[in-house]
């Protein structure tokens, strides 16, 4: 083990320890802690197996794509989960996002899947990822237009009810003020 490797492993272990600690102590936001934990794991791993650095080298395109996709799925999953947790997003909308993230993750964790897909459809792994993302974005958009139409219908209904209630209130108020005037006149 060379010195840089030892340094990397040591710093990685430190980062990992602190991020895990803060994850369980709720000191920071969870996905921030997860992010740092991932960096820590990578650094420790790089300390023992420097070959992972080669991933960033120009000679293994496949691996680089996998790494990028792993990062992408990681971001998608954590952000979605976080959005559900602080209830900014309803589960029904988050569902498609979760599926997208899981599919991407599965693709980069099991390269055999990717090869099977390649032999089945003839498109390479990188292209397949793009297609998956594209299809899911289309699905999301479709989902949004449906949700939007429903919401618009409901909004119109609420607006009508409000106008009717307002009219009723106006009538009641008029009647009341008329009654009052009548009472004073007598």
């Amino acid at each position: 083990m060379t010195t840089p490797q030892m340094v990397s492993a040591f710093v990685g272990a430190l980062i990992l320890a602190f991020s895990v600690r803060s994850f369980f102590r709720h000191k920071t936001q969870r996905f921030k802690a997860l992010f740092w934990a991932a960096i820590g794991v990578t650094m420790v791993y790089a300390g023992f197996r420097p070959t992972i650095i080669e991933v960033f080298g120009p000679d293994s395109v496949e691996l680089r794509i996998r790494l990028i996709v792993a990062l992408l799925s990681f971001i998608v999953l954590t952000v979605t989960l976080e959005a559900i947790r602080i209830s900014r997003m309803q589960e029904q909308y988050a569902f498609l996002w979760l599926v997208t993230g899981v599919l991407l993750l599965a693709g980069c964790l099991f390269p055999d899947l990717a090869t099977a897909l390649e032999s089945l459809t003839g498109i390479s792994y990188g292209m397949a990822v793009l297609v998956v993302i594209f299809v899911f974005i289309l699905l999301m958009l479709f989902h949004f237009s449906v949700a939007l139409s429903l919401t618009q219908g409901k909004l119109a209904q609420v607006a009508r009810e409000l106008a009717l209630t307002e009219e009723r209130l106006r009538r009641v108020e008029q009647k009341r003020s008329k009654d009052k005037d009548g009472g004073q006149a007598e």
Binding site: A156, R160, A163, L164
Partner: protein, 248 residues
């Protein structure tokens, strides 16, 4: 004459009609005496709301713009809640002269129609529309006549009178934008009967039309899509004509 059909209300959808709504209300009071009016103010940006405040008739202020269809639906809901048996629609721009309302009332009094439409193209003359629009209307009329198996000459006319069953259905379902042709198709599918009577329209008294120049083409497209979509949907069994109570 108005006594012939008691329990009738005049519904006026209005969007930015501050100039024409006042004279129109006066005309209604003159030609259809004793008939209550409800103006539906579709979130106008001008002084329509202020005019209505001093007008002394019932009015609904919609909190956001719903289009003429959404506004009319609010009006139908109001008429239903208040227990009216018939409703006449007059457009807020003064296109439909209240004096012509009698033609609709007379036809409705015969009792065999759920919806009476005042048609510009059944004889009497008067203001019709620009040439381009007339071509569009004619095309639409041909298509709708075929779809409804009944002759329709003026599918875009908003000069209408409905009875309580139709009101009940409209309060449940009414297209939001450019509703007139679509409602005819919907009614015919649900088993309601409608007839046309000749009516004389006027040019709009003030303000601007909501359909712009290229809007005519867009209107046609939208209506065709809507008709197609409606055709694909199932008939709403709950609101079939024979199931909706005759009211009162």
């Amino acid at each position: 004459m108005a006594a012939m059909l008691p329990n009738t209300i005049v519904l006026i959808p209005a969007y930015n009609e501050e100039a024409s709504i006042g004279p129109l209300l006066k005309e209604v009071a003159e030609h259809l005496p004793g008939v209550p009016v409800c103006v539906i103010n579709d979130c106008s940006g001008d002084g329509t709301a202020q005019v209505l405040e001093g007008a002394g008739c019932a009015y609904l202020n919609l909190p956001c713009r719903l289009g003429v269809g959404g506004a009319m639906q609010a009006g139908f809901r109001y008429a239903l809640e208040q227990g009216y048996d018939y409703a006449i629609r007059l457009d807020g721009d003064g296109q439909h002269p209240p004096s012509e309302g009698y033609a609709l009332v007379e036809r409705m009094a015969q009792g065999d129609a759920d919806l009476v439409v005042g048609s510009r193209f059944l004889g009497k003359g008067g203001y019709t529309s620009s040439a381009a629009r007339q071509v569009g209307i004619a095309g639409l009329a041909t298509f709708l006549s075929y779809a409804c198996r009944q002759q329709i000459t003026d599918p875009t006319s908003g000069f209408q009178m409905v009875n309580r069953p139709t009101m009940t259905y409209f309060a449940h379902r009414y297209p939001a934008e450019y509703p007139e042709p679509e409602t005819l198709a919907l009614l015919s599918r649900q088993g309601y009967r409608f007839v046309e009577v000749p009516a004389v329209f006027r040019e709009r008294q003030a303000g601007k039309s909501s359909i712009r120049r290229w809007g005519t083409l867009y209107y046609m497209l939208r209506v065709c899509v809507a008709l197609f979509v409606d055709r694909c949907r199932a008939v709403d069994r709950r609101f079939e004509r024979r199931r909706v109570e005759t009211g009162t």
